[in-house]
């Protein structure tokens, strides 16, 4: 089995608010720490990724340096469409004008899946048929959109195959689907939080991904907090001791809250582990909760889990 970080593409999926962008950035940092050159991507209208590396949000013609070993890129559809016209259709310079035409635009917008396919096509190209001018990346990490929790993106190629059934778009769709379905090349990474409801949703999403042939290779429990009451002496002993202290009751309430949260997190992680069992072999990684999104620390922690 291919180790997670040895895949060429990691697609990071999960429900909104679980921290996909943080985890995507952290995975890239972890990869760099393990000696890889990583590219981390967000698509289309997303803007959250560059700020994780202190870069201004926005699209650019080429990847930008986030830190040593990590490049960051916000890819847009027109860019990818142009690239497709140039590479696959061998359209010369005027292709630029043609693909920026309103009719082509309208068409791309009106065909479900085409939009996503253009983005994925560009990514697949960069990985498998890089031009001499393309920088080499050992691993590309894709911060997938929350819409449809990422499943829609992974299914885009099949959606488009169903519609077209022949022609260059169809061929591209087939290539992309093969690439995404090849478990030595592409791995799906599912992000969740260590709480009961997010775990429940993650398990459901994992099932849906599996049913489509995109079984997650890893699940990242994000924002895991360390034990806030040291053991020993342990929470019970501390609570007993607080009973005899002035103003102890106020502190006792906070300790109980912390203990309850710790138990919820632990239980959620146990559930997650147990319920992912049937999916066979998904690595469970824990990403620590950090103040003010210090992504670097999350990256370091993930690197430890990946070795």
């Amino acid at each position: 089995m291919t180790a997670l970080i040895d895949h060429r593409l990691l697609v990071v999926v999960g429900k909104g608010g679980v921290g996909r962008t943080t985890v995507s950035a952290a995975l890239a940092i972890a990869a760099a720490r393990l000696g890889k050159r990583a590219l981390v991507l967000e698509l289309d209208q997303a803007t959250g990724l560059p700020p994780k590396f202190d870069l201004a949000p926005g699209a650019s013609d080429a990847p930008r340096r986030g830190m040593p070993g990590v490049d960051v890129w916000s890819l847009t559809v027109p860019q990818c469409l142009e690239d497709f016209a140039r590479r696959k259709l061998k359209l010369p310079g005027f292709a630029r004008n043609l693909v920026r035409n309103r009719f082509v635009d309208t068409f791309v917008d009106a065909v479900p899946g085409l939009h996503d396919l253009m983005l994925l096509g560009k990514i697949e190209n960069m990985i498998r048929e890089p031009l001499p001018s393309d920088p080499h990346y050992d691993v590309v990490i894709l911060d997938a959109p929350a819409t449809g929790h990422g499943l829609t993106l992974l299914q885009a190629a099949r959606t488009l195959s169903d519609i077209t059934r022949a022609g260059p778009f169809h061929d591209l769709a087939r290539i992309i689907d093969e690439f995404l379905s090849d478990r030595t090349l592409t791995a799906t990474v599912l992000v969740t939080l260590p709480e009961e409801l997010p775990v429940q949703e993650a398990v459901e999403l994992a099932g849906a991904l599996d049913a489509e042939g995109f079984r997650p290779a890893a699940v990242v429990a994000n924002q895991v907090e360390g034990r806030s009451i040291p053991d020993p002496p342990g929470a019970d002993e501390v609570l007993a001791a607080l009973a005899g202290v002035e103003h102890g009751a106020a502190l006792e309430r906070l300790v109980r809250g912390e203990v309850a949260r710790g138990q919820r997190h632990e239980q959620a992680l146990v559930d997650l582990q147990a319920r992912l069992g049937p999916l066979g072999g998904a690595t469970l990684l824990e990403a620590p909760r950090v103040e003010a999104d210090t992504v670097r620390r999350v990256g370091m922690a993930l690197a430890e889990g990946l070795t």
Binding site: K15, V104, D109, T147, I163, I229, V245
Partner: protein
């Protein structure tokens, strides 16, 4: 007259839960409420009795003492498309559309069609006359403005002008450019799919006057003074620029902003708390591993500090948001450890929510 509360916000803010809590709260105070939810977590769906995805409003049992009624439904995008065409087209057209691969893709997978269909369904609920208020949860999107832009996009696609643009480019210079683009598209997509897309638009155009009339009614509804927009945000991560962009969009469209619903607000810890000295004395009295107790005491000292710092960060972020929005009202909804999972849990949030009718 049915009033509408639209809950907007990016994914992960707890929008679905807050929409449901608003609906429960207003129903408890005597209104006939319908809540249109989108992709609720399983337990919430079960609590609301909308486990089945079938587009039909179902009555929800409210806690004892509730004076109004609550119906809940979960949006089924595909079902709503089929419903719309079934109502508007001749049976043979419906049949042909249902077999058109492009229609099948559009009705299940076209991005933006979820938003478009949410608005369609909202229109149905409002015109039924059965409710005093409809609460709408919006689909999870990257940016809050997508709720408005997406339906516009889908309307643009369904509009006849696109059909003309793609299949009847016209003469002159623009027509020539269009034909060039069209032949490129044809080359890329293949003739067959172009034929199916053309068939789709021809079939849809039979209904297009109906669509236009309906679009206008829906647009009027969204702009009506009886429709209020709430912005749900997470106290820990209010995406200020995104939210302010949304407010700007509301203003431009002449739509009424009702206020912020700030979720997951942590309580300010209520002291006084024991001093470090008192805790150290406690540790000494307890005996055992002195070093371990020292660590424990440091952890205990940090607990209220950390809680106070979290609460202060949240307060500051909310304050900035409210100020940037020109003093818009903000309702602070407390963090519920472990999440809300029942009707009683939803009802418990009522004191933190805007009363019925909300001040506008």
């Amino acid at each position: 007259m049915t009033r509408v509360a639209v809950c907007c916000g990016v994914g992960g803010t707890g929008k679905t839960t807050i929409s449901a809590a608003l609906a429960v709260s207003w129903a408890a105070s005597g209104e006939r409420v319908a809540v249109l939810t989108i992709d609720p977590a399983r337990r919430l769906a079960d609590a609301l009795g909308v486990g089945a995805l079938d587009n039909v409003p179902r009555e929800v049992a409210l806690p004892a003492g509730a004076e109004g009624t609550l119906h809940a439904l979960m949006l089924d995008r595909k079902g709503t498309w089929d419903e719309v065409i079934a109502r508007r087209a001749r049976p043979e057209t419906v049949e042909r559309l249902l077999h058109n691969p492009y229609y099948r893709a559009v009705s299940t997978r076209l991005s933006g069609s979820h938003e478009y269909m949410a608005v369609e369904k909202l229109h149905d609920l409002v015109t039924s006359g059965r409710y005093d208020r409809v609460v709408v949860d919006t689909p999870p999107t990257q940016h809050v403005v997508d709720f408005f832009r997406a339906p516009d996009r889908v309307r643009g696609i369904l509009d006849r002008s696109l059909l003309r643009a793609l299949f009847d480019p016209g003469d002159g210079l623009r027509g020539t450019a269009a034909r060039g683009a069209l032949s490129l598209v044809r080359r890329l997509a293949g003739d067959r799919v172009m034929g199916e897309i053309q068939e789709f638009f021809e079939l849809m155009s039979e209904m297009s006057s109906g669509f236009v009339a309906r679009s206008e009614a829906v647009a009027a509804l969204l702009k009506s003074p009886d429709t209020a927009y709430w912005l749900v945000t997470d106290a820990n991560a209010p995406e200020r620029n995104d939210l302010l962009g949304f407010l700007e969009e509301l203003r431009e469209r002449g739509m009424g902003f009702a206020g912020f619903l700030v979720n997951r607000v942590e309580p300010v810890p209520e002291g006084p708390f024991p001093s470090r000295e008192a805790l150290l004395a406690m540790a000494r009295a307890r005996g055992g591993d002195a070093r371990a107790w020292e660590f424990a005491v440091e952890a205990l000292v940090r607990l209220p500090e950390a809680a106070a710092a979290r609460a202060a960060r949240q307060r500051a972020a909310i304050g900035e948001l409210v100020k940037a929005a020109g003093g818009a009202p903000a309702w602070r909804i407390p963090e519920v450890p472990g999440g809300v999972r029942s009707i009683d849990g939803l009802a418990a949030l009522a004191p933190a929510l805007p009363p019925s009718p909300p001040a506008r």
